[in-house]
Structure formats: C-alpha cells, structure tokens
C-alpha cells in the first residue's frame, strides 16, 4: 500500500495590505482553496505564471508560512505552525531548494558549513560525525571532497544548485520542495540537475513537489500536474491526463504558448512565412 506523504485540504492564504493613513485596506487572495495529495516516491509538479500563488503554496507546504484557512498534513500528521511550535523532527521531514543558487547561499559561509548547519540546528549528530556526513553528501550530489572548504563564489550555477540540493538532503527529508530549481540554469546543466534529482529520488524514495513554469521540464519529470491560475488550482490530475486532455481554458492557452522545437512545427512556420 502506498503512503501519503503530503496532503492539503482547502488551503487558503490571504495577504492584507493596509491602505495607509487614509486609504482602504485590501485583501489579496494568493492561494484559494487548494487541495492536493502526494504519495511517497512521486513527483507533483505545480505550474503557473508569476504571481499565481505557486511559491506561496510552496512556503505553506514547507511550514515557513501559515495558511489563513485549510489543513496541512505531513505523513498523515496535522501541522499547525500558528498553534504549536514545530518539533525538530517535523522540520527534518520537509526541506526546500530555491530558484536562484546565487542568492540562496551565504557568500561568507564555506560549503562544509553550509552542509553541516542543518545538522547543528535540527539534529543531535555529534561534531565528529557531521563532517563525515557532509563529505558523503558532497560526493553523492556529484561534487568532490576538496570542495568542502571552498566558498560559494568559486562554483558555477549548476554546482551551486547541487550544493543547495545537498544542503536540503542533509537531514534525510521525506519531502523535498523544489521552487524552480532549474530555471536559472543552462540547458546542459539543467539536464544534469534533472538527472541528479531522478537518481536521488530512486535512491532515497524521495517525494518531490516541483514548482516550475517550464512545461517541457514538467512533462519530463512529473507524475501528477497541478496548474494554478490567480491562486486557484484550475487543473489537477496525472501527467498524461493533463497533457493529453486539458480541461481548463487557461491550461490550453499555456500549452499553445509553449514554443515548439519539433521539425514539423518549424516546417509549418517557414511555409506560413514564405506565403
């Protein structure tokens, strides 16, 4: 039987803007009534344009931000960060990788410390063992042990994203939230990072929530796909169902807008142009 790692029921997140001294305040509904379920070892991709609420949803799932309404379950356990403080164990279960590997690493912190910090904060692994674990993780994500004492500026974008992934994996999480992990990377490096994510998923049975705006990447990596539009989940289903038979108007617009790189489409375009 498969186990459900992540479940949300009717998640809502509102942001209140004060209108200043004389103006009327406003409420922005960033996420509206989103329910989803991800099973162990599976990948859910969340697709949408900037401002559609996908990153807000990621923050809620990662327990950084509290939902205005709705329930969040991690491993079947209900989480409410406003009511009680999160246990270290809960913190360990969910980790996040951010979009920009140039911004998400402290420029003054050595890579070794980047990797050992989560252990210091959220576990009681002794100092002697922390170093070994960090070394092992470096090789696992395709870096070398000699990178341990280097600073982030000495690495390329792809290597930095590997470091960010390694940091997220240090606590053996169950669920990894990936917020646009490859959109800042070149095509060839993107392929390497996607392969690494697939390898790690196989090895550790990781569950991914993969946030992206790139449909070709989503189609390659996802088991389930959710399309968000202005805070609402307008489409949610298995990858094949969503891609072969999109129900919502917006999903179809999104597919139509994605550039096609196959020979047939190019030939058609050139014919149109010649005419």
């Amino acid at each position: 039987m498969s186990e459900t790692v992540l479940e949300t029921r009717g998640i809502v997140r509102d942001y209140h803007l004060s209108g200043g001294l004389f103006g009327q305040g406003r409420t922005i509904h960033a996420v509206k009534d989103v329910s989803l379920k991800v099973e162990k070892g599976k990948t859910l991709a969340i697709v949408g344009e900037s401002g559609c609420g996908k990153s807000t949803l990621a923050r809620i799932i990662t327990m950084i931000d509290a939902p205005t309404a709705g329930e969040l379950f991690i491993d079947g356990e209900k989480v409410d960060i406003t009511a009680n403080r999160l246990s270290a164990e809960m913190r360990r279960k969910v980790q996040i990788v951010f979009q920009n590997p140039y911004g998400s690493l402290n420029p003054r912190q050595k890579i070794g410390d980047v990797l050992m910090d989560p252990l210091v904060i959220n576990s009681d692994v002794p100092a002697s063992e922390r170093r070994d674990r960090a070394m092992a993780m470096l090789t696992k994500v395709g870096l070398q042990p000699e990178h341990f004492n280097r600073y982030p500026h000495m690495f390329s974008g792809g290597q930095r994203q590997r470091i960010a992934i390694a940091r997220a994996l240090m606590l053996n999480p169950r669920l990894l939230v990936l917020d646009e992990p490859v959109s800042a990377l070149d095509l060839s490096v993107q392929a390497q990072v996607l392969n690494l994510l697939a390898d790690l998923q196989d090895e550790f049975g990781l569950t991914y929530v993969f946030i992206s705006h790139d449909l070709s990447v989503v189609r390659y990596i996802a088991d389930d796909v959710m399309v968000m539009y202005f805070g609402e989940a307008v489409e949610y289903g298995t990858r094949d169902k969503v891609f072969s038979d999109p129900q919502h108007e917006y999903t179809r617009t999104l597919f139509a807008a994605t550039p096609r790189a196959d020979v047939e489409s190019i030939r058609k375009r050139l014919e149109r142009r010649a005419a």
Partner: protein, 284 residues
Amino acid sequence: MPLLEIENLVVTFDTAAGSLRAVDGISLSVDAGEVLAIVGESGSGKSVSMLAVMGLLPWTATVKADRMAFEGRDILNLSAAERRRIVGKDIAMIFQEPIASLNPCFTVGFQIEEALKQHMGLDRKARRKRAIELFAAVGIPDPEDRLGHFPHQMSGGQCQRVMIAIAIACNPKLLIADEPTTALDVTIQKQILDLLMKLQAEQGMGMIMITHNMGVVAETADRVIVQYKGRKMEEAGVLALFETPEHPYTQALLSALPENATGDRLPTVSDFAFEDTPYKGGRA
C-alpha cells in the same frame, strides 16, 4: 550586399588574471529581412559579439576584426560621435531585463521621445504623435495615457513592449534582440515573439535573435549559428539544424531538451565529445 557583415571577430578582456578571449574568431552576416538566431550557453560570447557591434563594451575590452561593416560601411574604426549616429537609429537593440533597461527616473514617454529627438529631429508635437503611434503599434492599451507612466507602474511584459517601441522608433534596418523573452512568462513570451516577428515582417528589418532557448529559435529563426566558448560550432538553416544537426555540440543541445527525452535519464552535453570537432562551414 549583406546588412551586417562580420569577419573573424575577436574580443578579449583584460582581467586581473590575464587576458580572456570571450569571442574567438566569429564570422557572420545578416541580410535585410532575415532573422538570424545565435544560440549558446552562458559564457559562449553571444551577447559580447553583439555588444561589440553596438560599441557598448567597457574599456577593458579589445575588439579586433578583419572586417565589420554595416551596409558596406566600416563600423569598426568609427569615432564615438559617428557611431552614435548609427547606433540607436539604424541598428537598435533590445535587452533581456526590460525593467532594468528603462530609466526609473523618467516617464516612458520621455524615454521614447528622447530617441526621436536625438535621431529624427522631430518637433515636440510630432514626437508626441509618433510616440503614441509607436505605443499603439506594439500593443500598449490606452497609449496616450501610458506615455505619462513610470517603468515601475508597468508589468515586465509591458516594459518589454516599451523597449521594443523605443527600438523601432527610428525605423532601424537591423534589430538585435538579446534574450528578449527570458525574464517573461510563457504566455507573455508568445505575445512578445509574435509582436517582434510581425514588426520584422512589416518593416523588412534584419534581425539577430540572441537566445539560449531552442524553442525560441525554432519559432523565430531563418538561419541559426550555434556558439560555444566564443567559437562558432555550426551554422545552418533552421530546418536543417533541427532535422540533421551535424556538429556533436548541436546534437548534444538538442538531445538535452526534456521534450526529446526517450529514456528515463536525459543525455547531458558532457556525454558528447565535441570540443575538438572543428566548424565545417555553413549550410542552407
């Protein structure tokens, strides 16, 4: 006669660690009414070679070429004043970050009229009329009102439309678009690409599209140059390039596209040995 002709362009930068060759012997030519795409990863020198054409490189850069001519006229050894007469008028450029490339302190109307004043010598009334026409042409709703807006009041897609309006303000013969849609959402990307292609066809401009996105290449280009580490790897017609890529690097790039994935792992560029394969010459 081609619109822009470059032969054996070399750009080096003086750095603390010695000189760095960013562009290493690139030759290219663009005809009027043609769309040439230059594809490559970051660091392949695709932007630097175009900045060299525009004369926008910092003083640490040294530009050398056997020939660099626009409409048959040498543009390599121009004085700054002579260059300014061509750049912005006959050759215009659009940059990647629309919000960052507009000046936040002035209204968009001022910025477009500045270009018209500099190059077209129109009076105040005529400038305003032309600016409204241009905004309408690039699909900005309510153009008269929008002229008084500042860049921060507009979205990224709208700012890119303003940039395009400024670029085409003086009816350029060559438009260089440096990753014009990389910072934008896919649906906005589609609108901007459609707009660029429409303007290109209407005005018969030559266009150079710099991008790292193979999808954008497939949707816009007539001819493609693939660049890696400052060198040309392959040059071919767009159909030939996608149908029968000849150079191993091009093959690697195309097979790393997730939509072309066959197995459960993607082939990566490092799986292909390509660095020693020389450039074989262009094809149609």
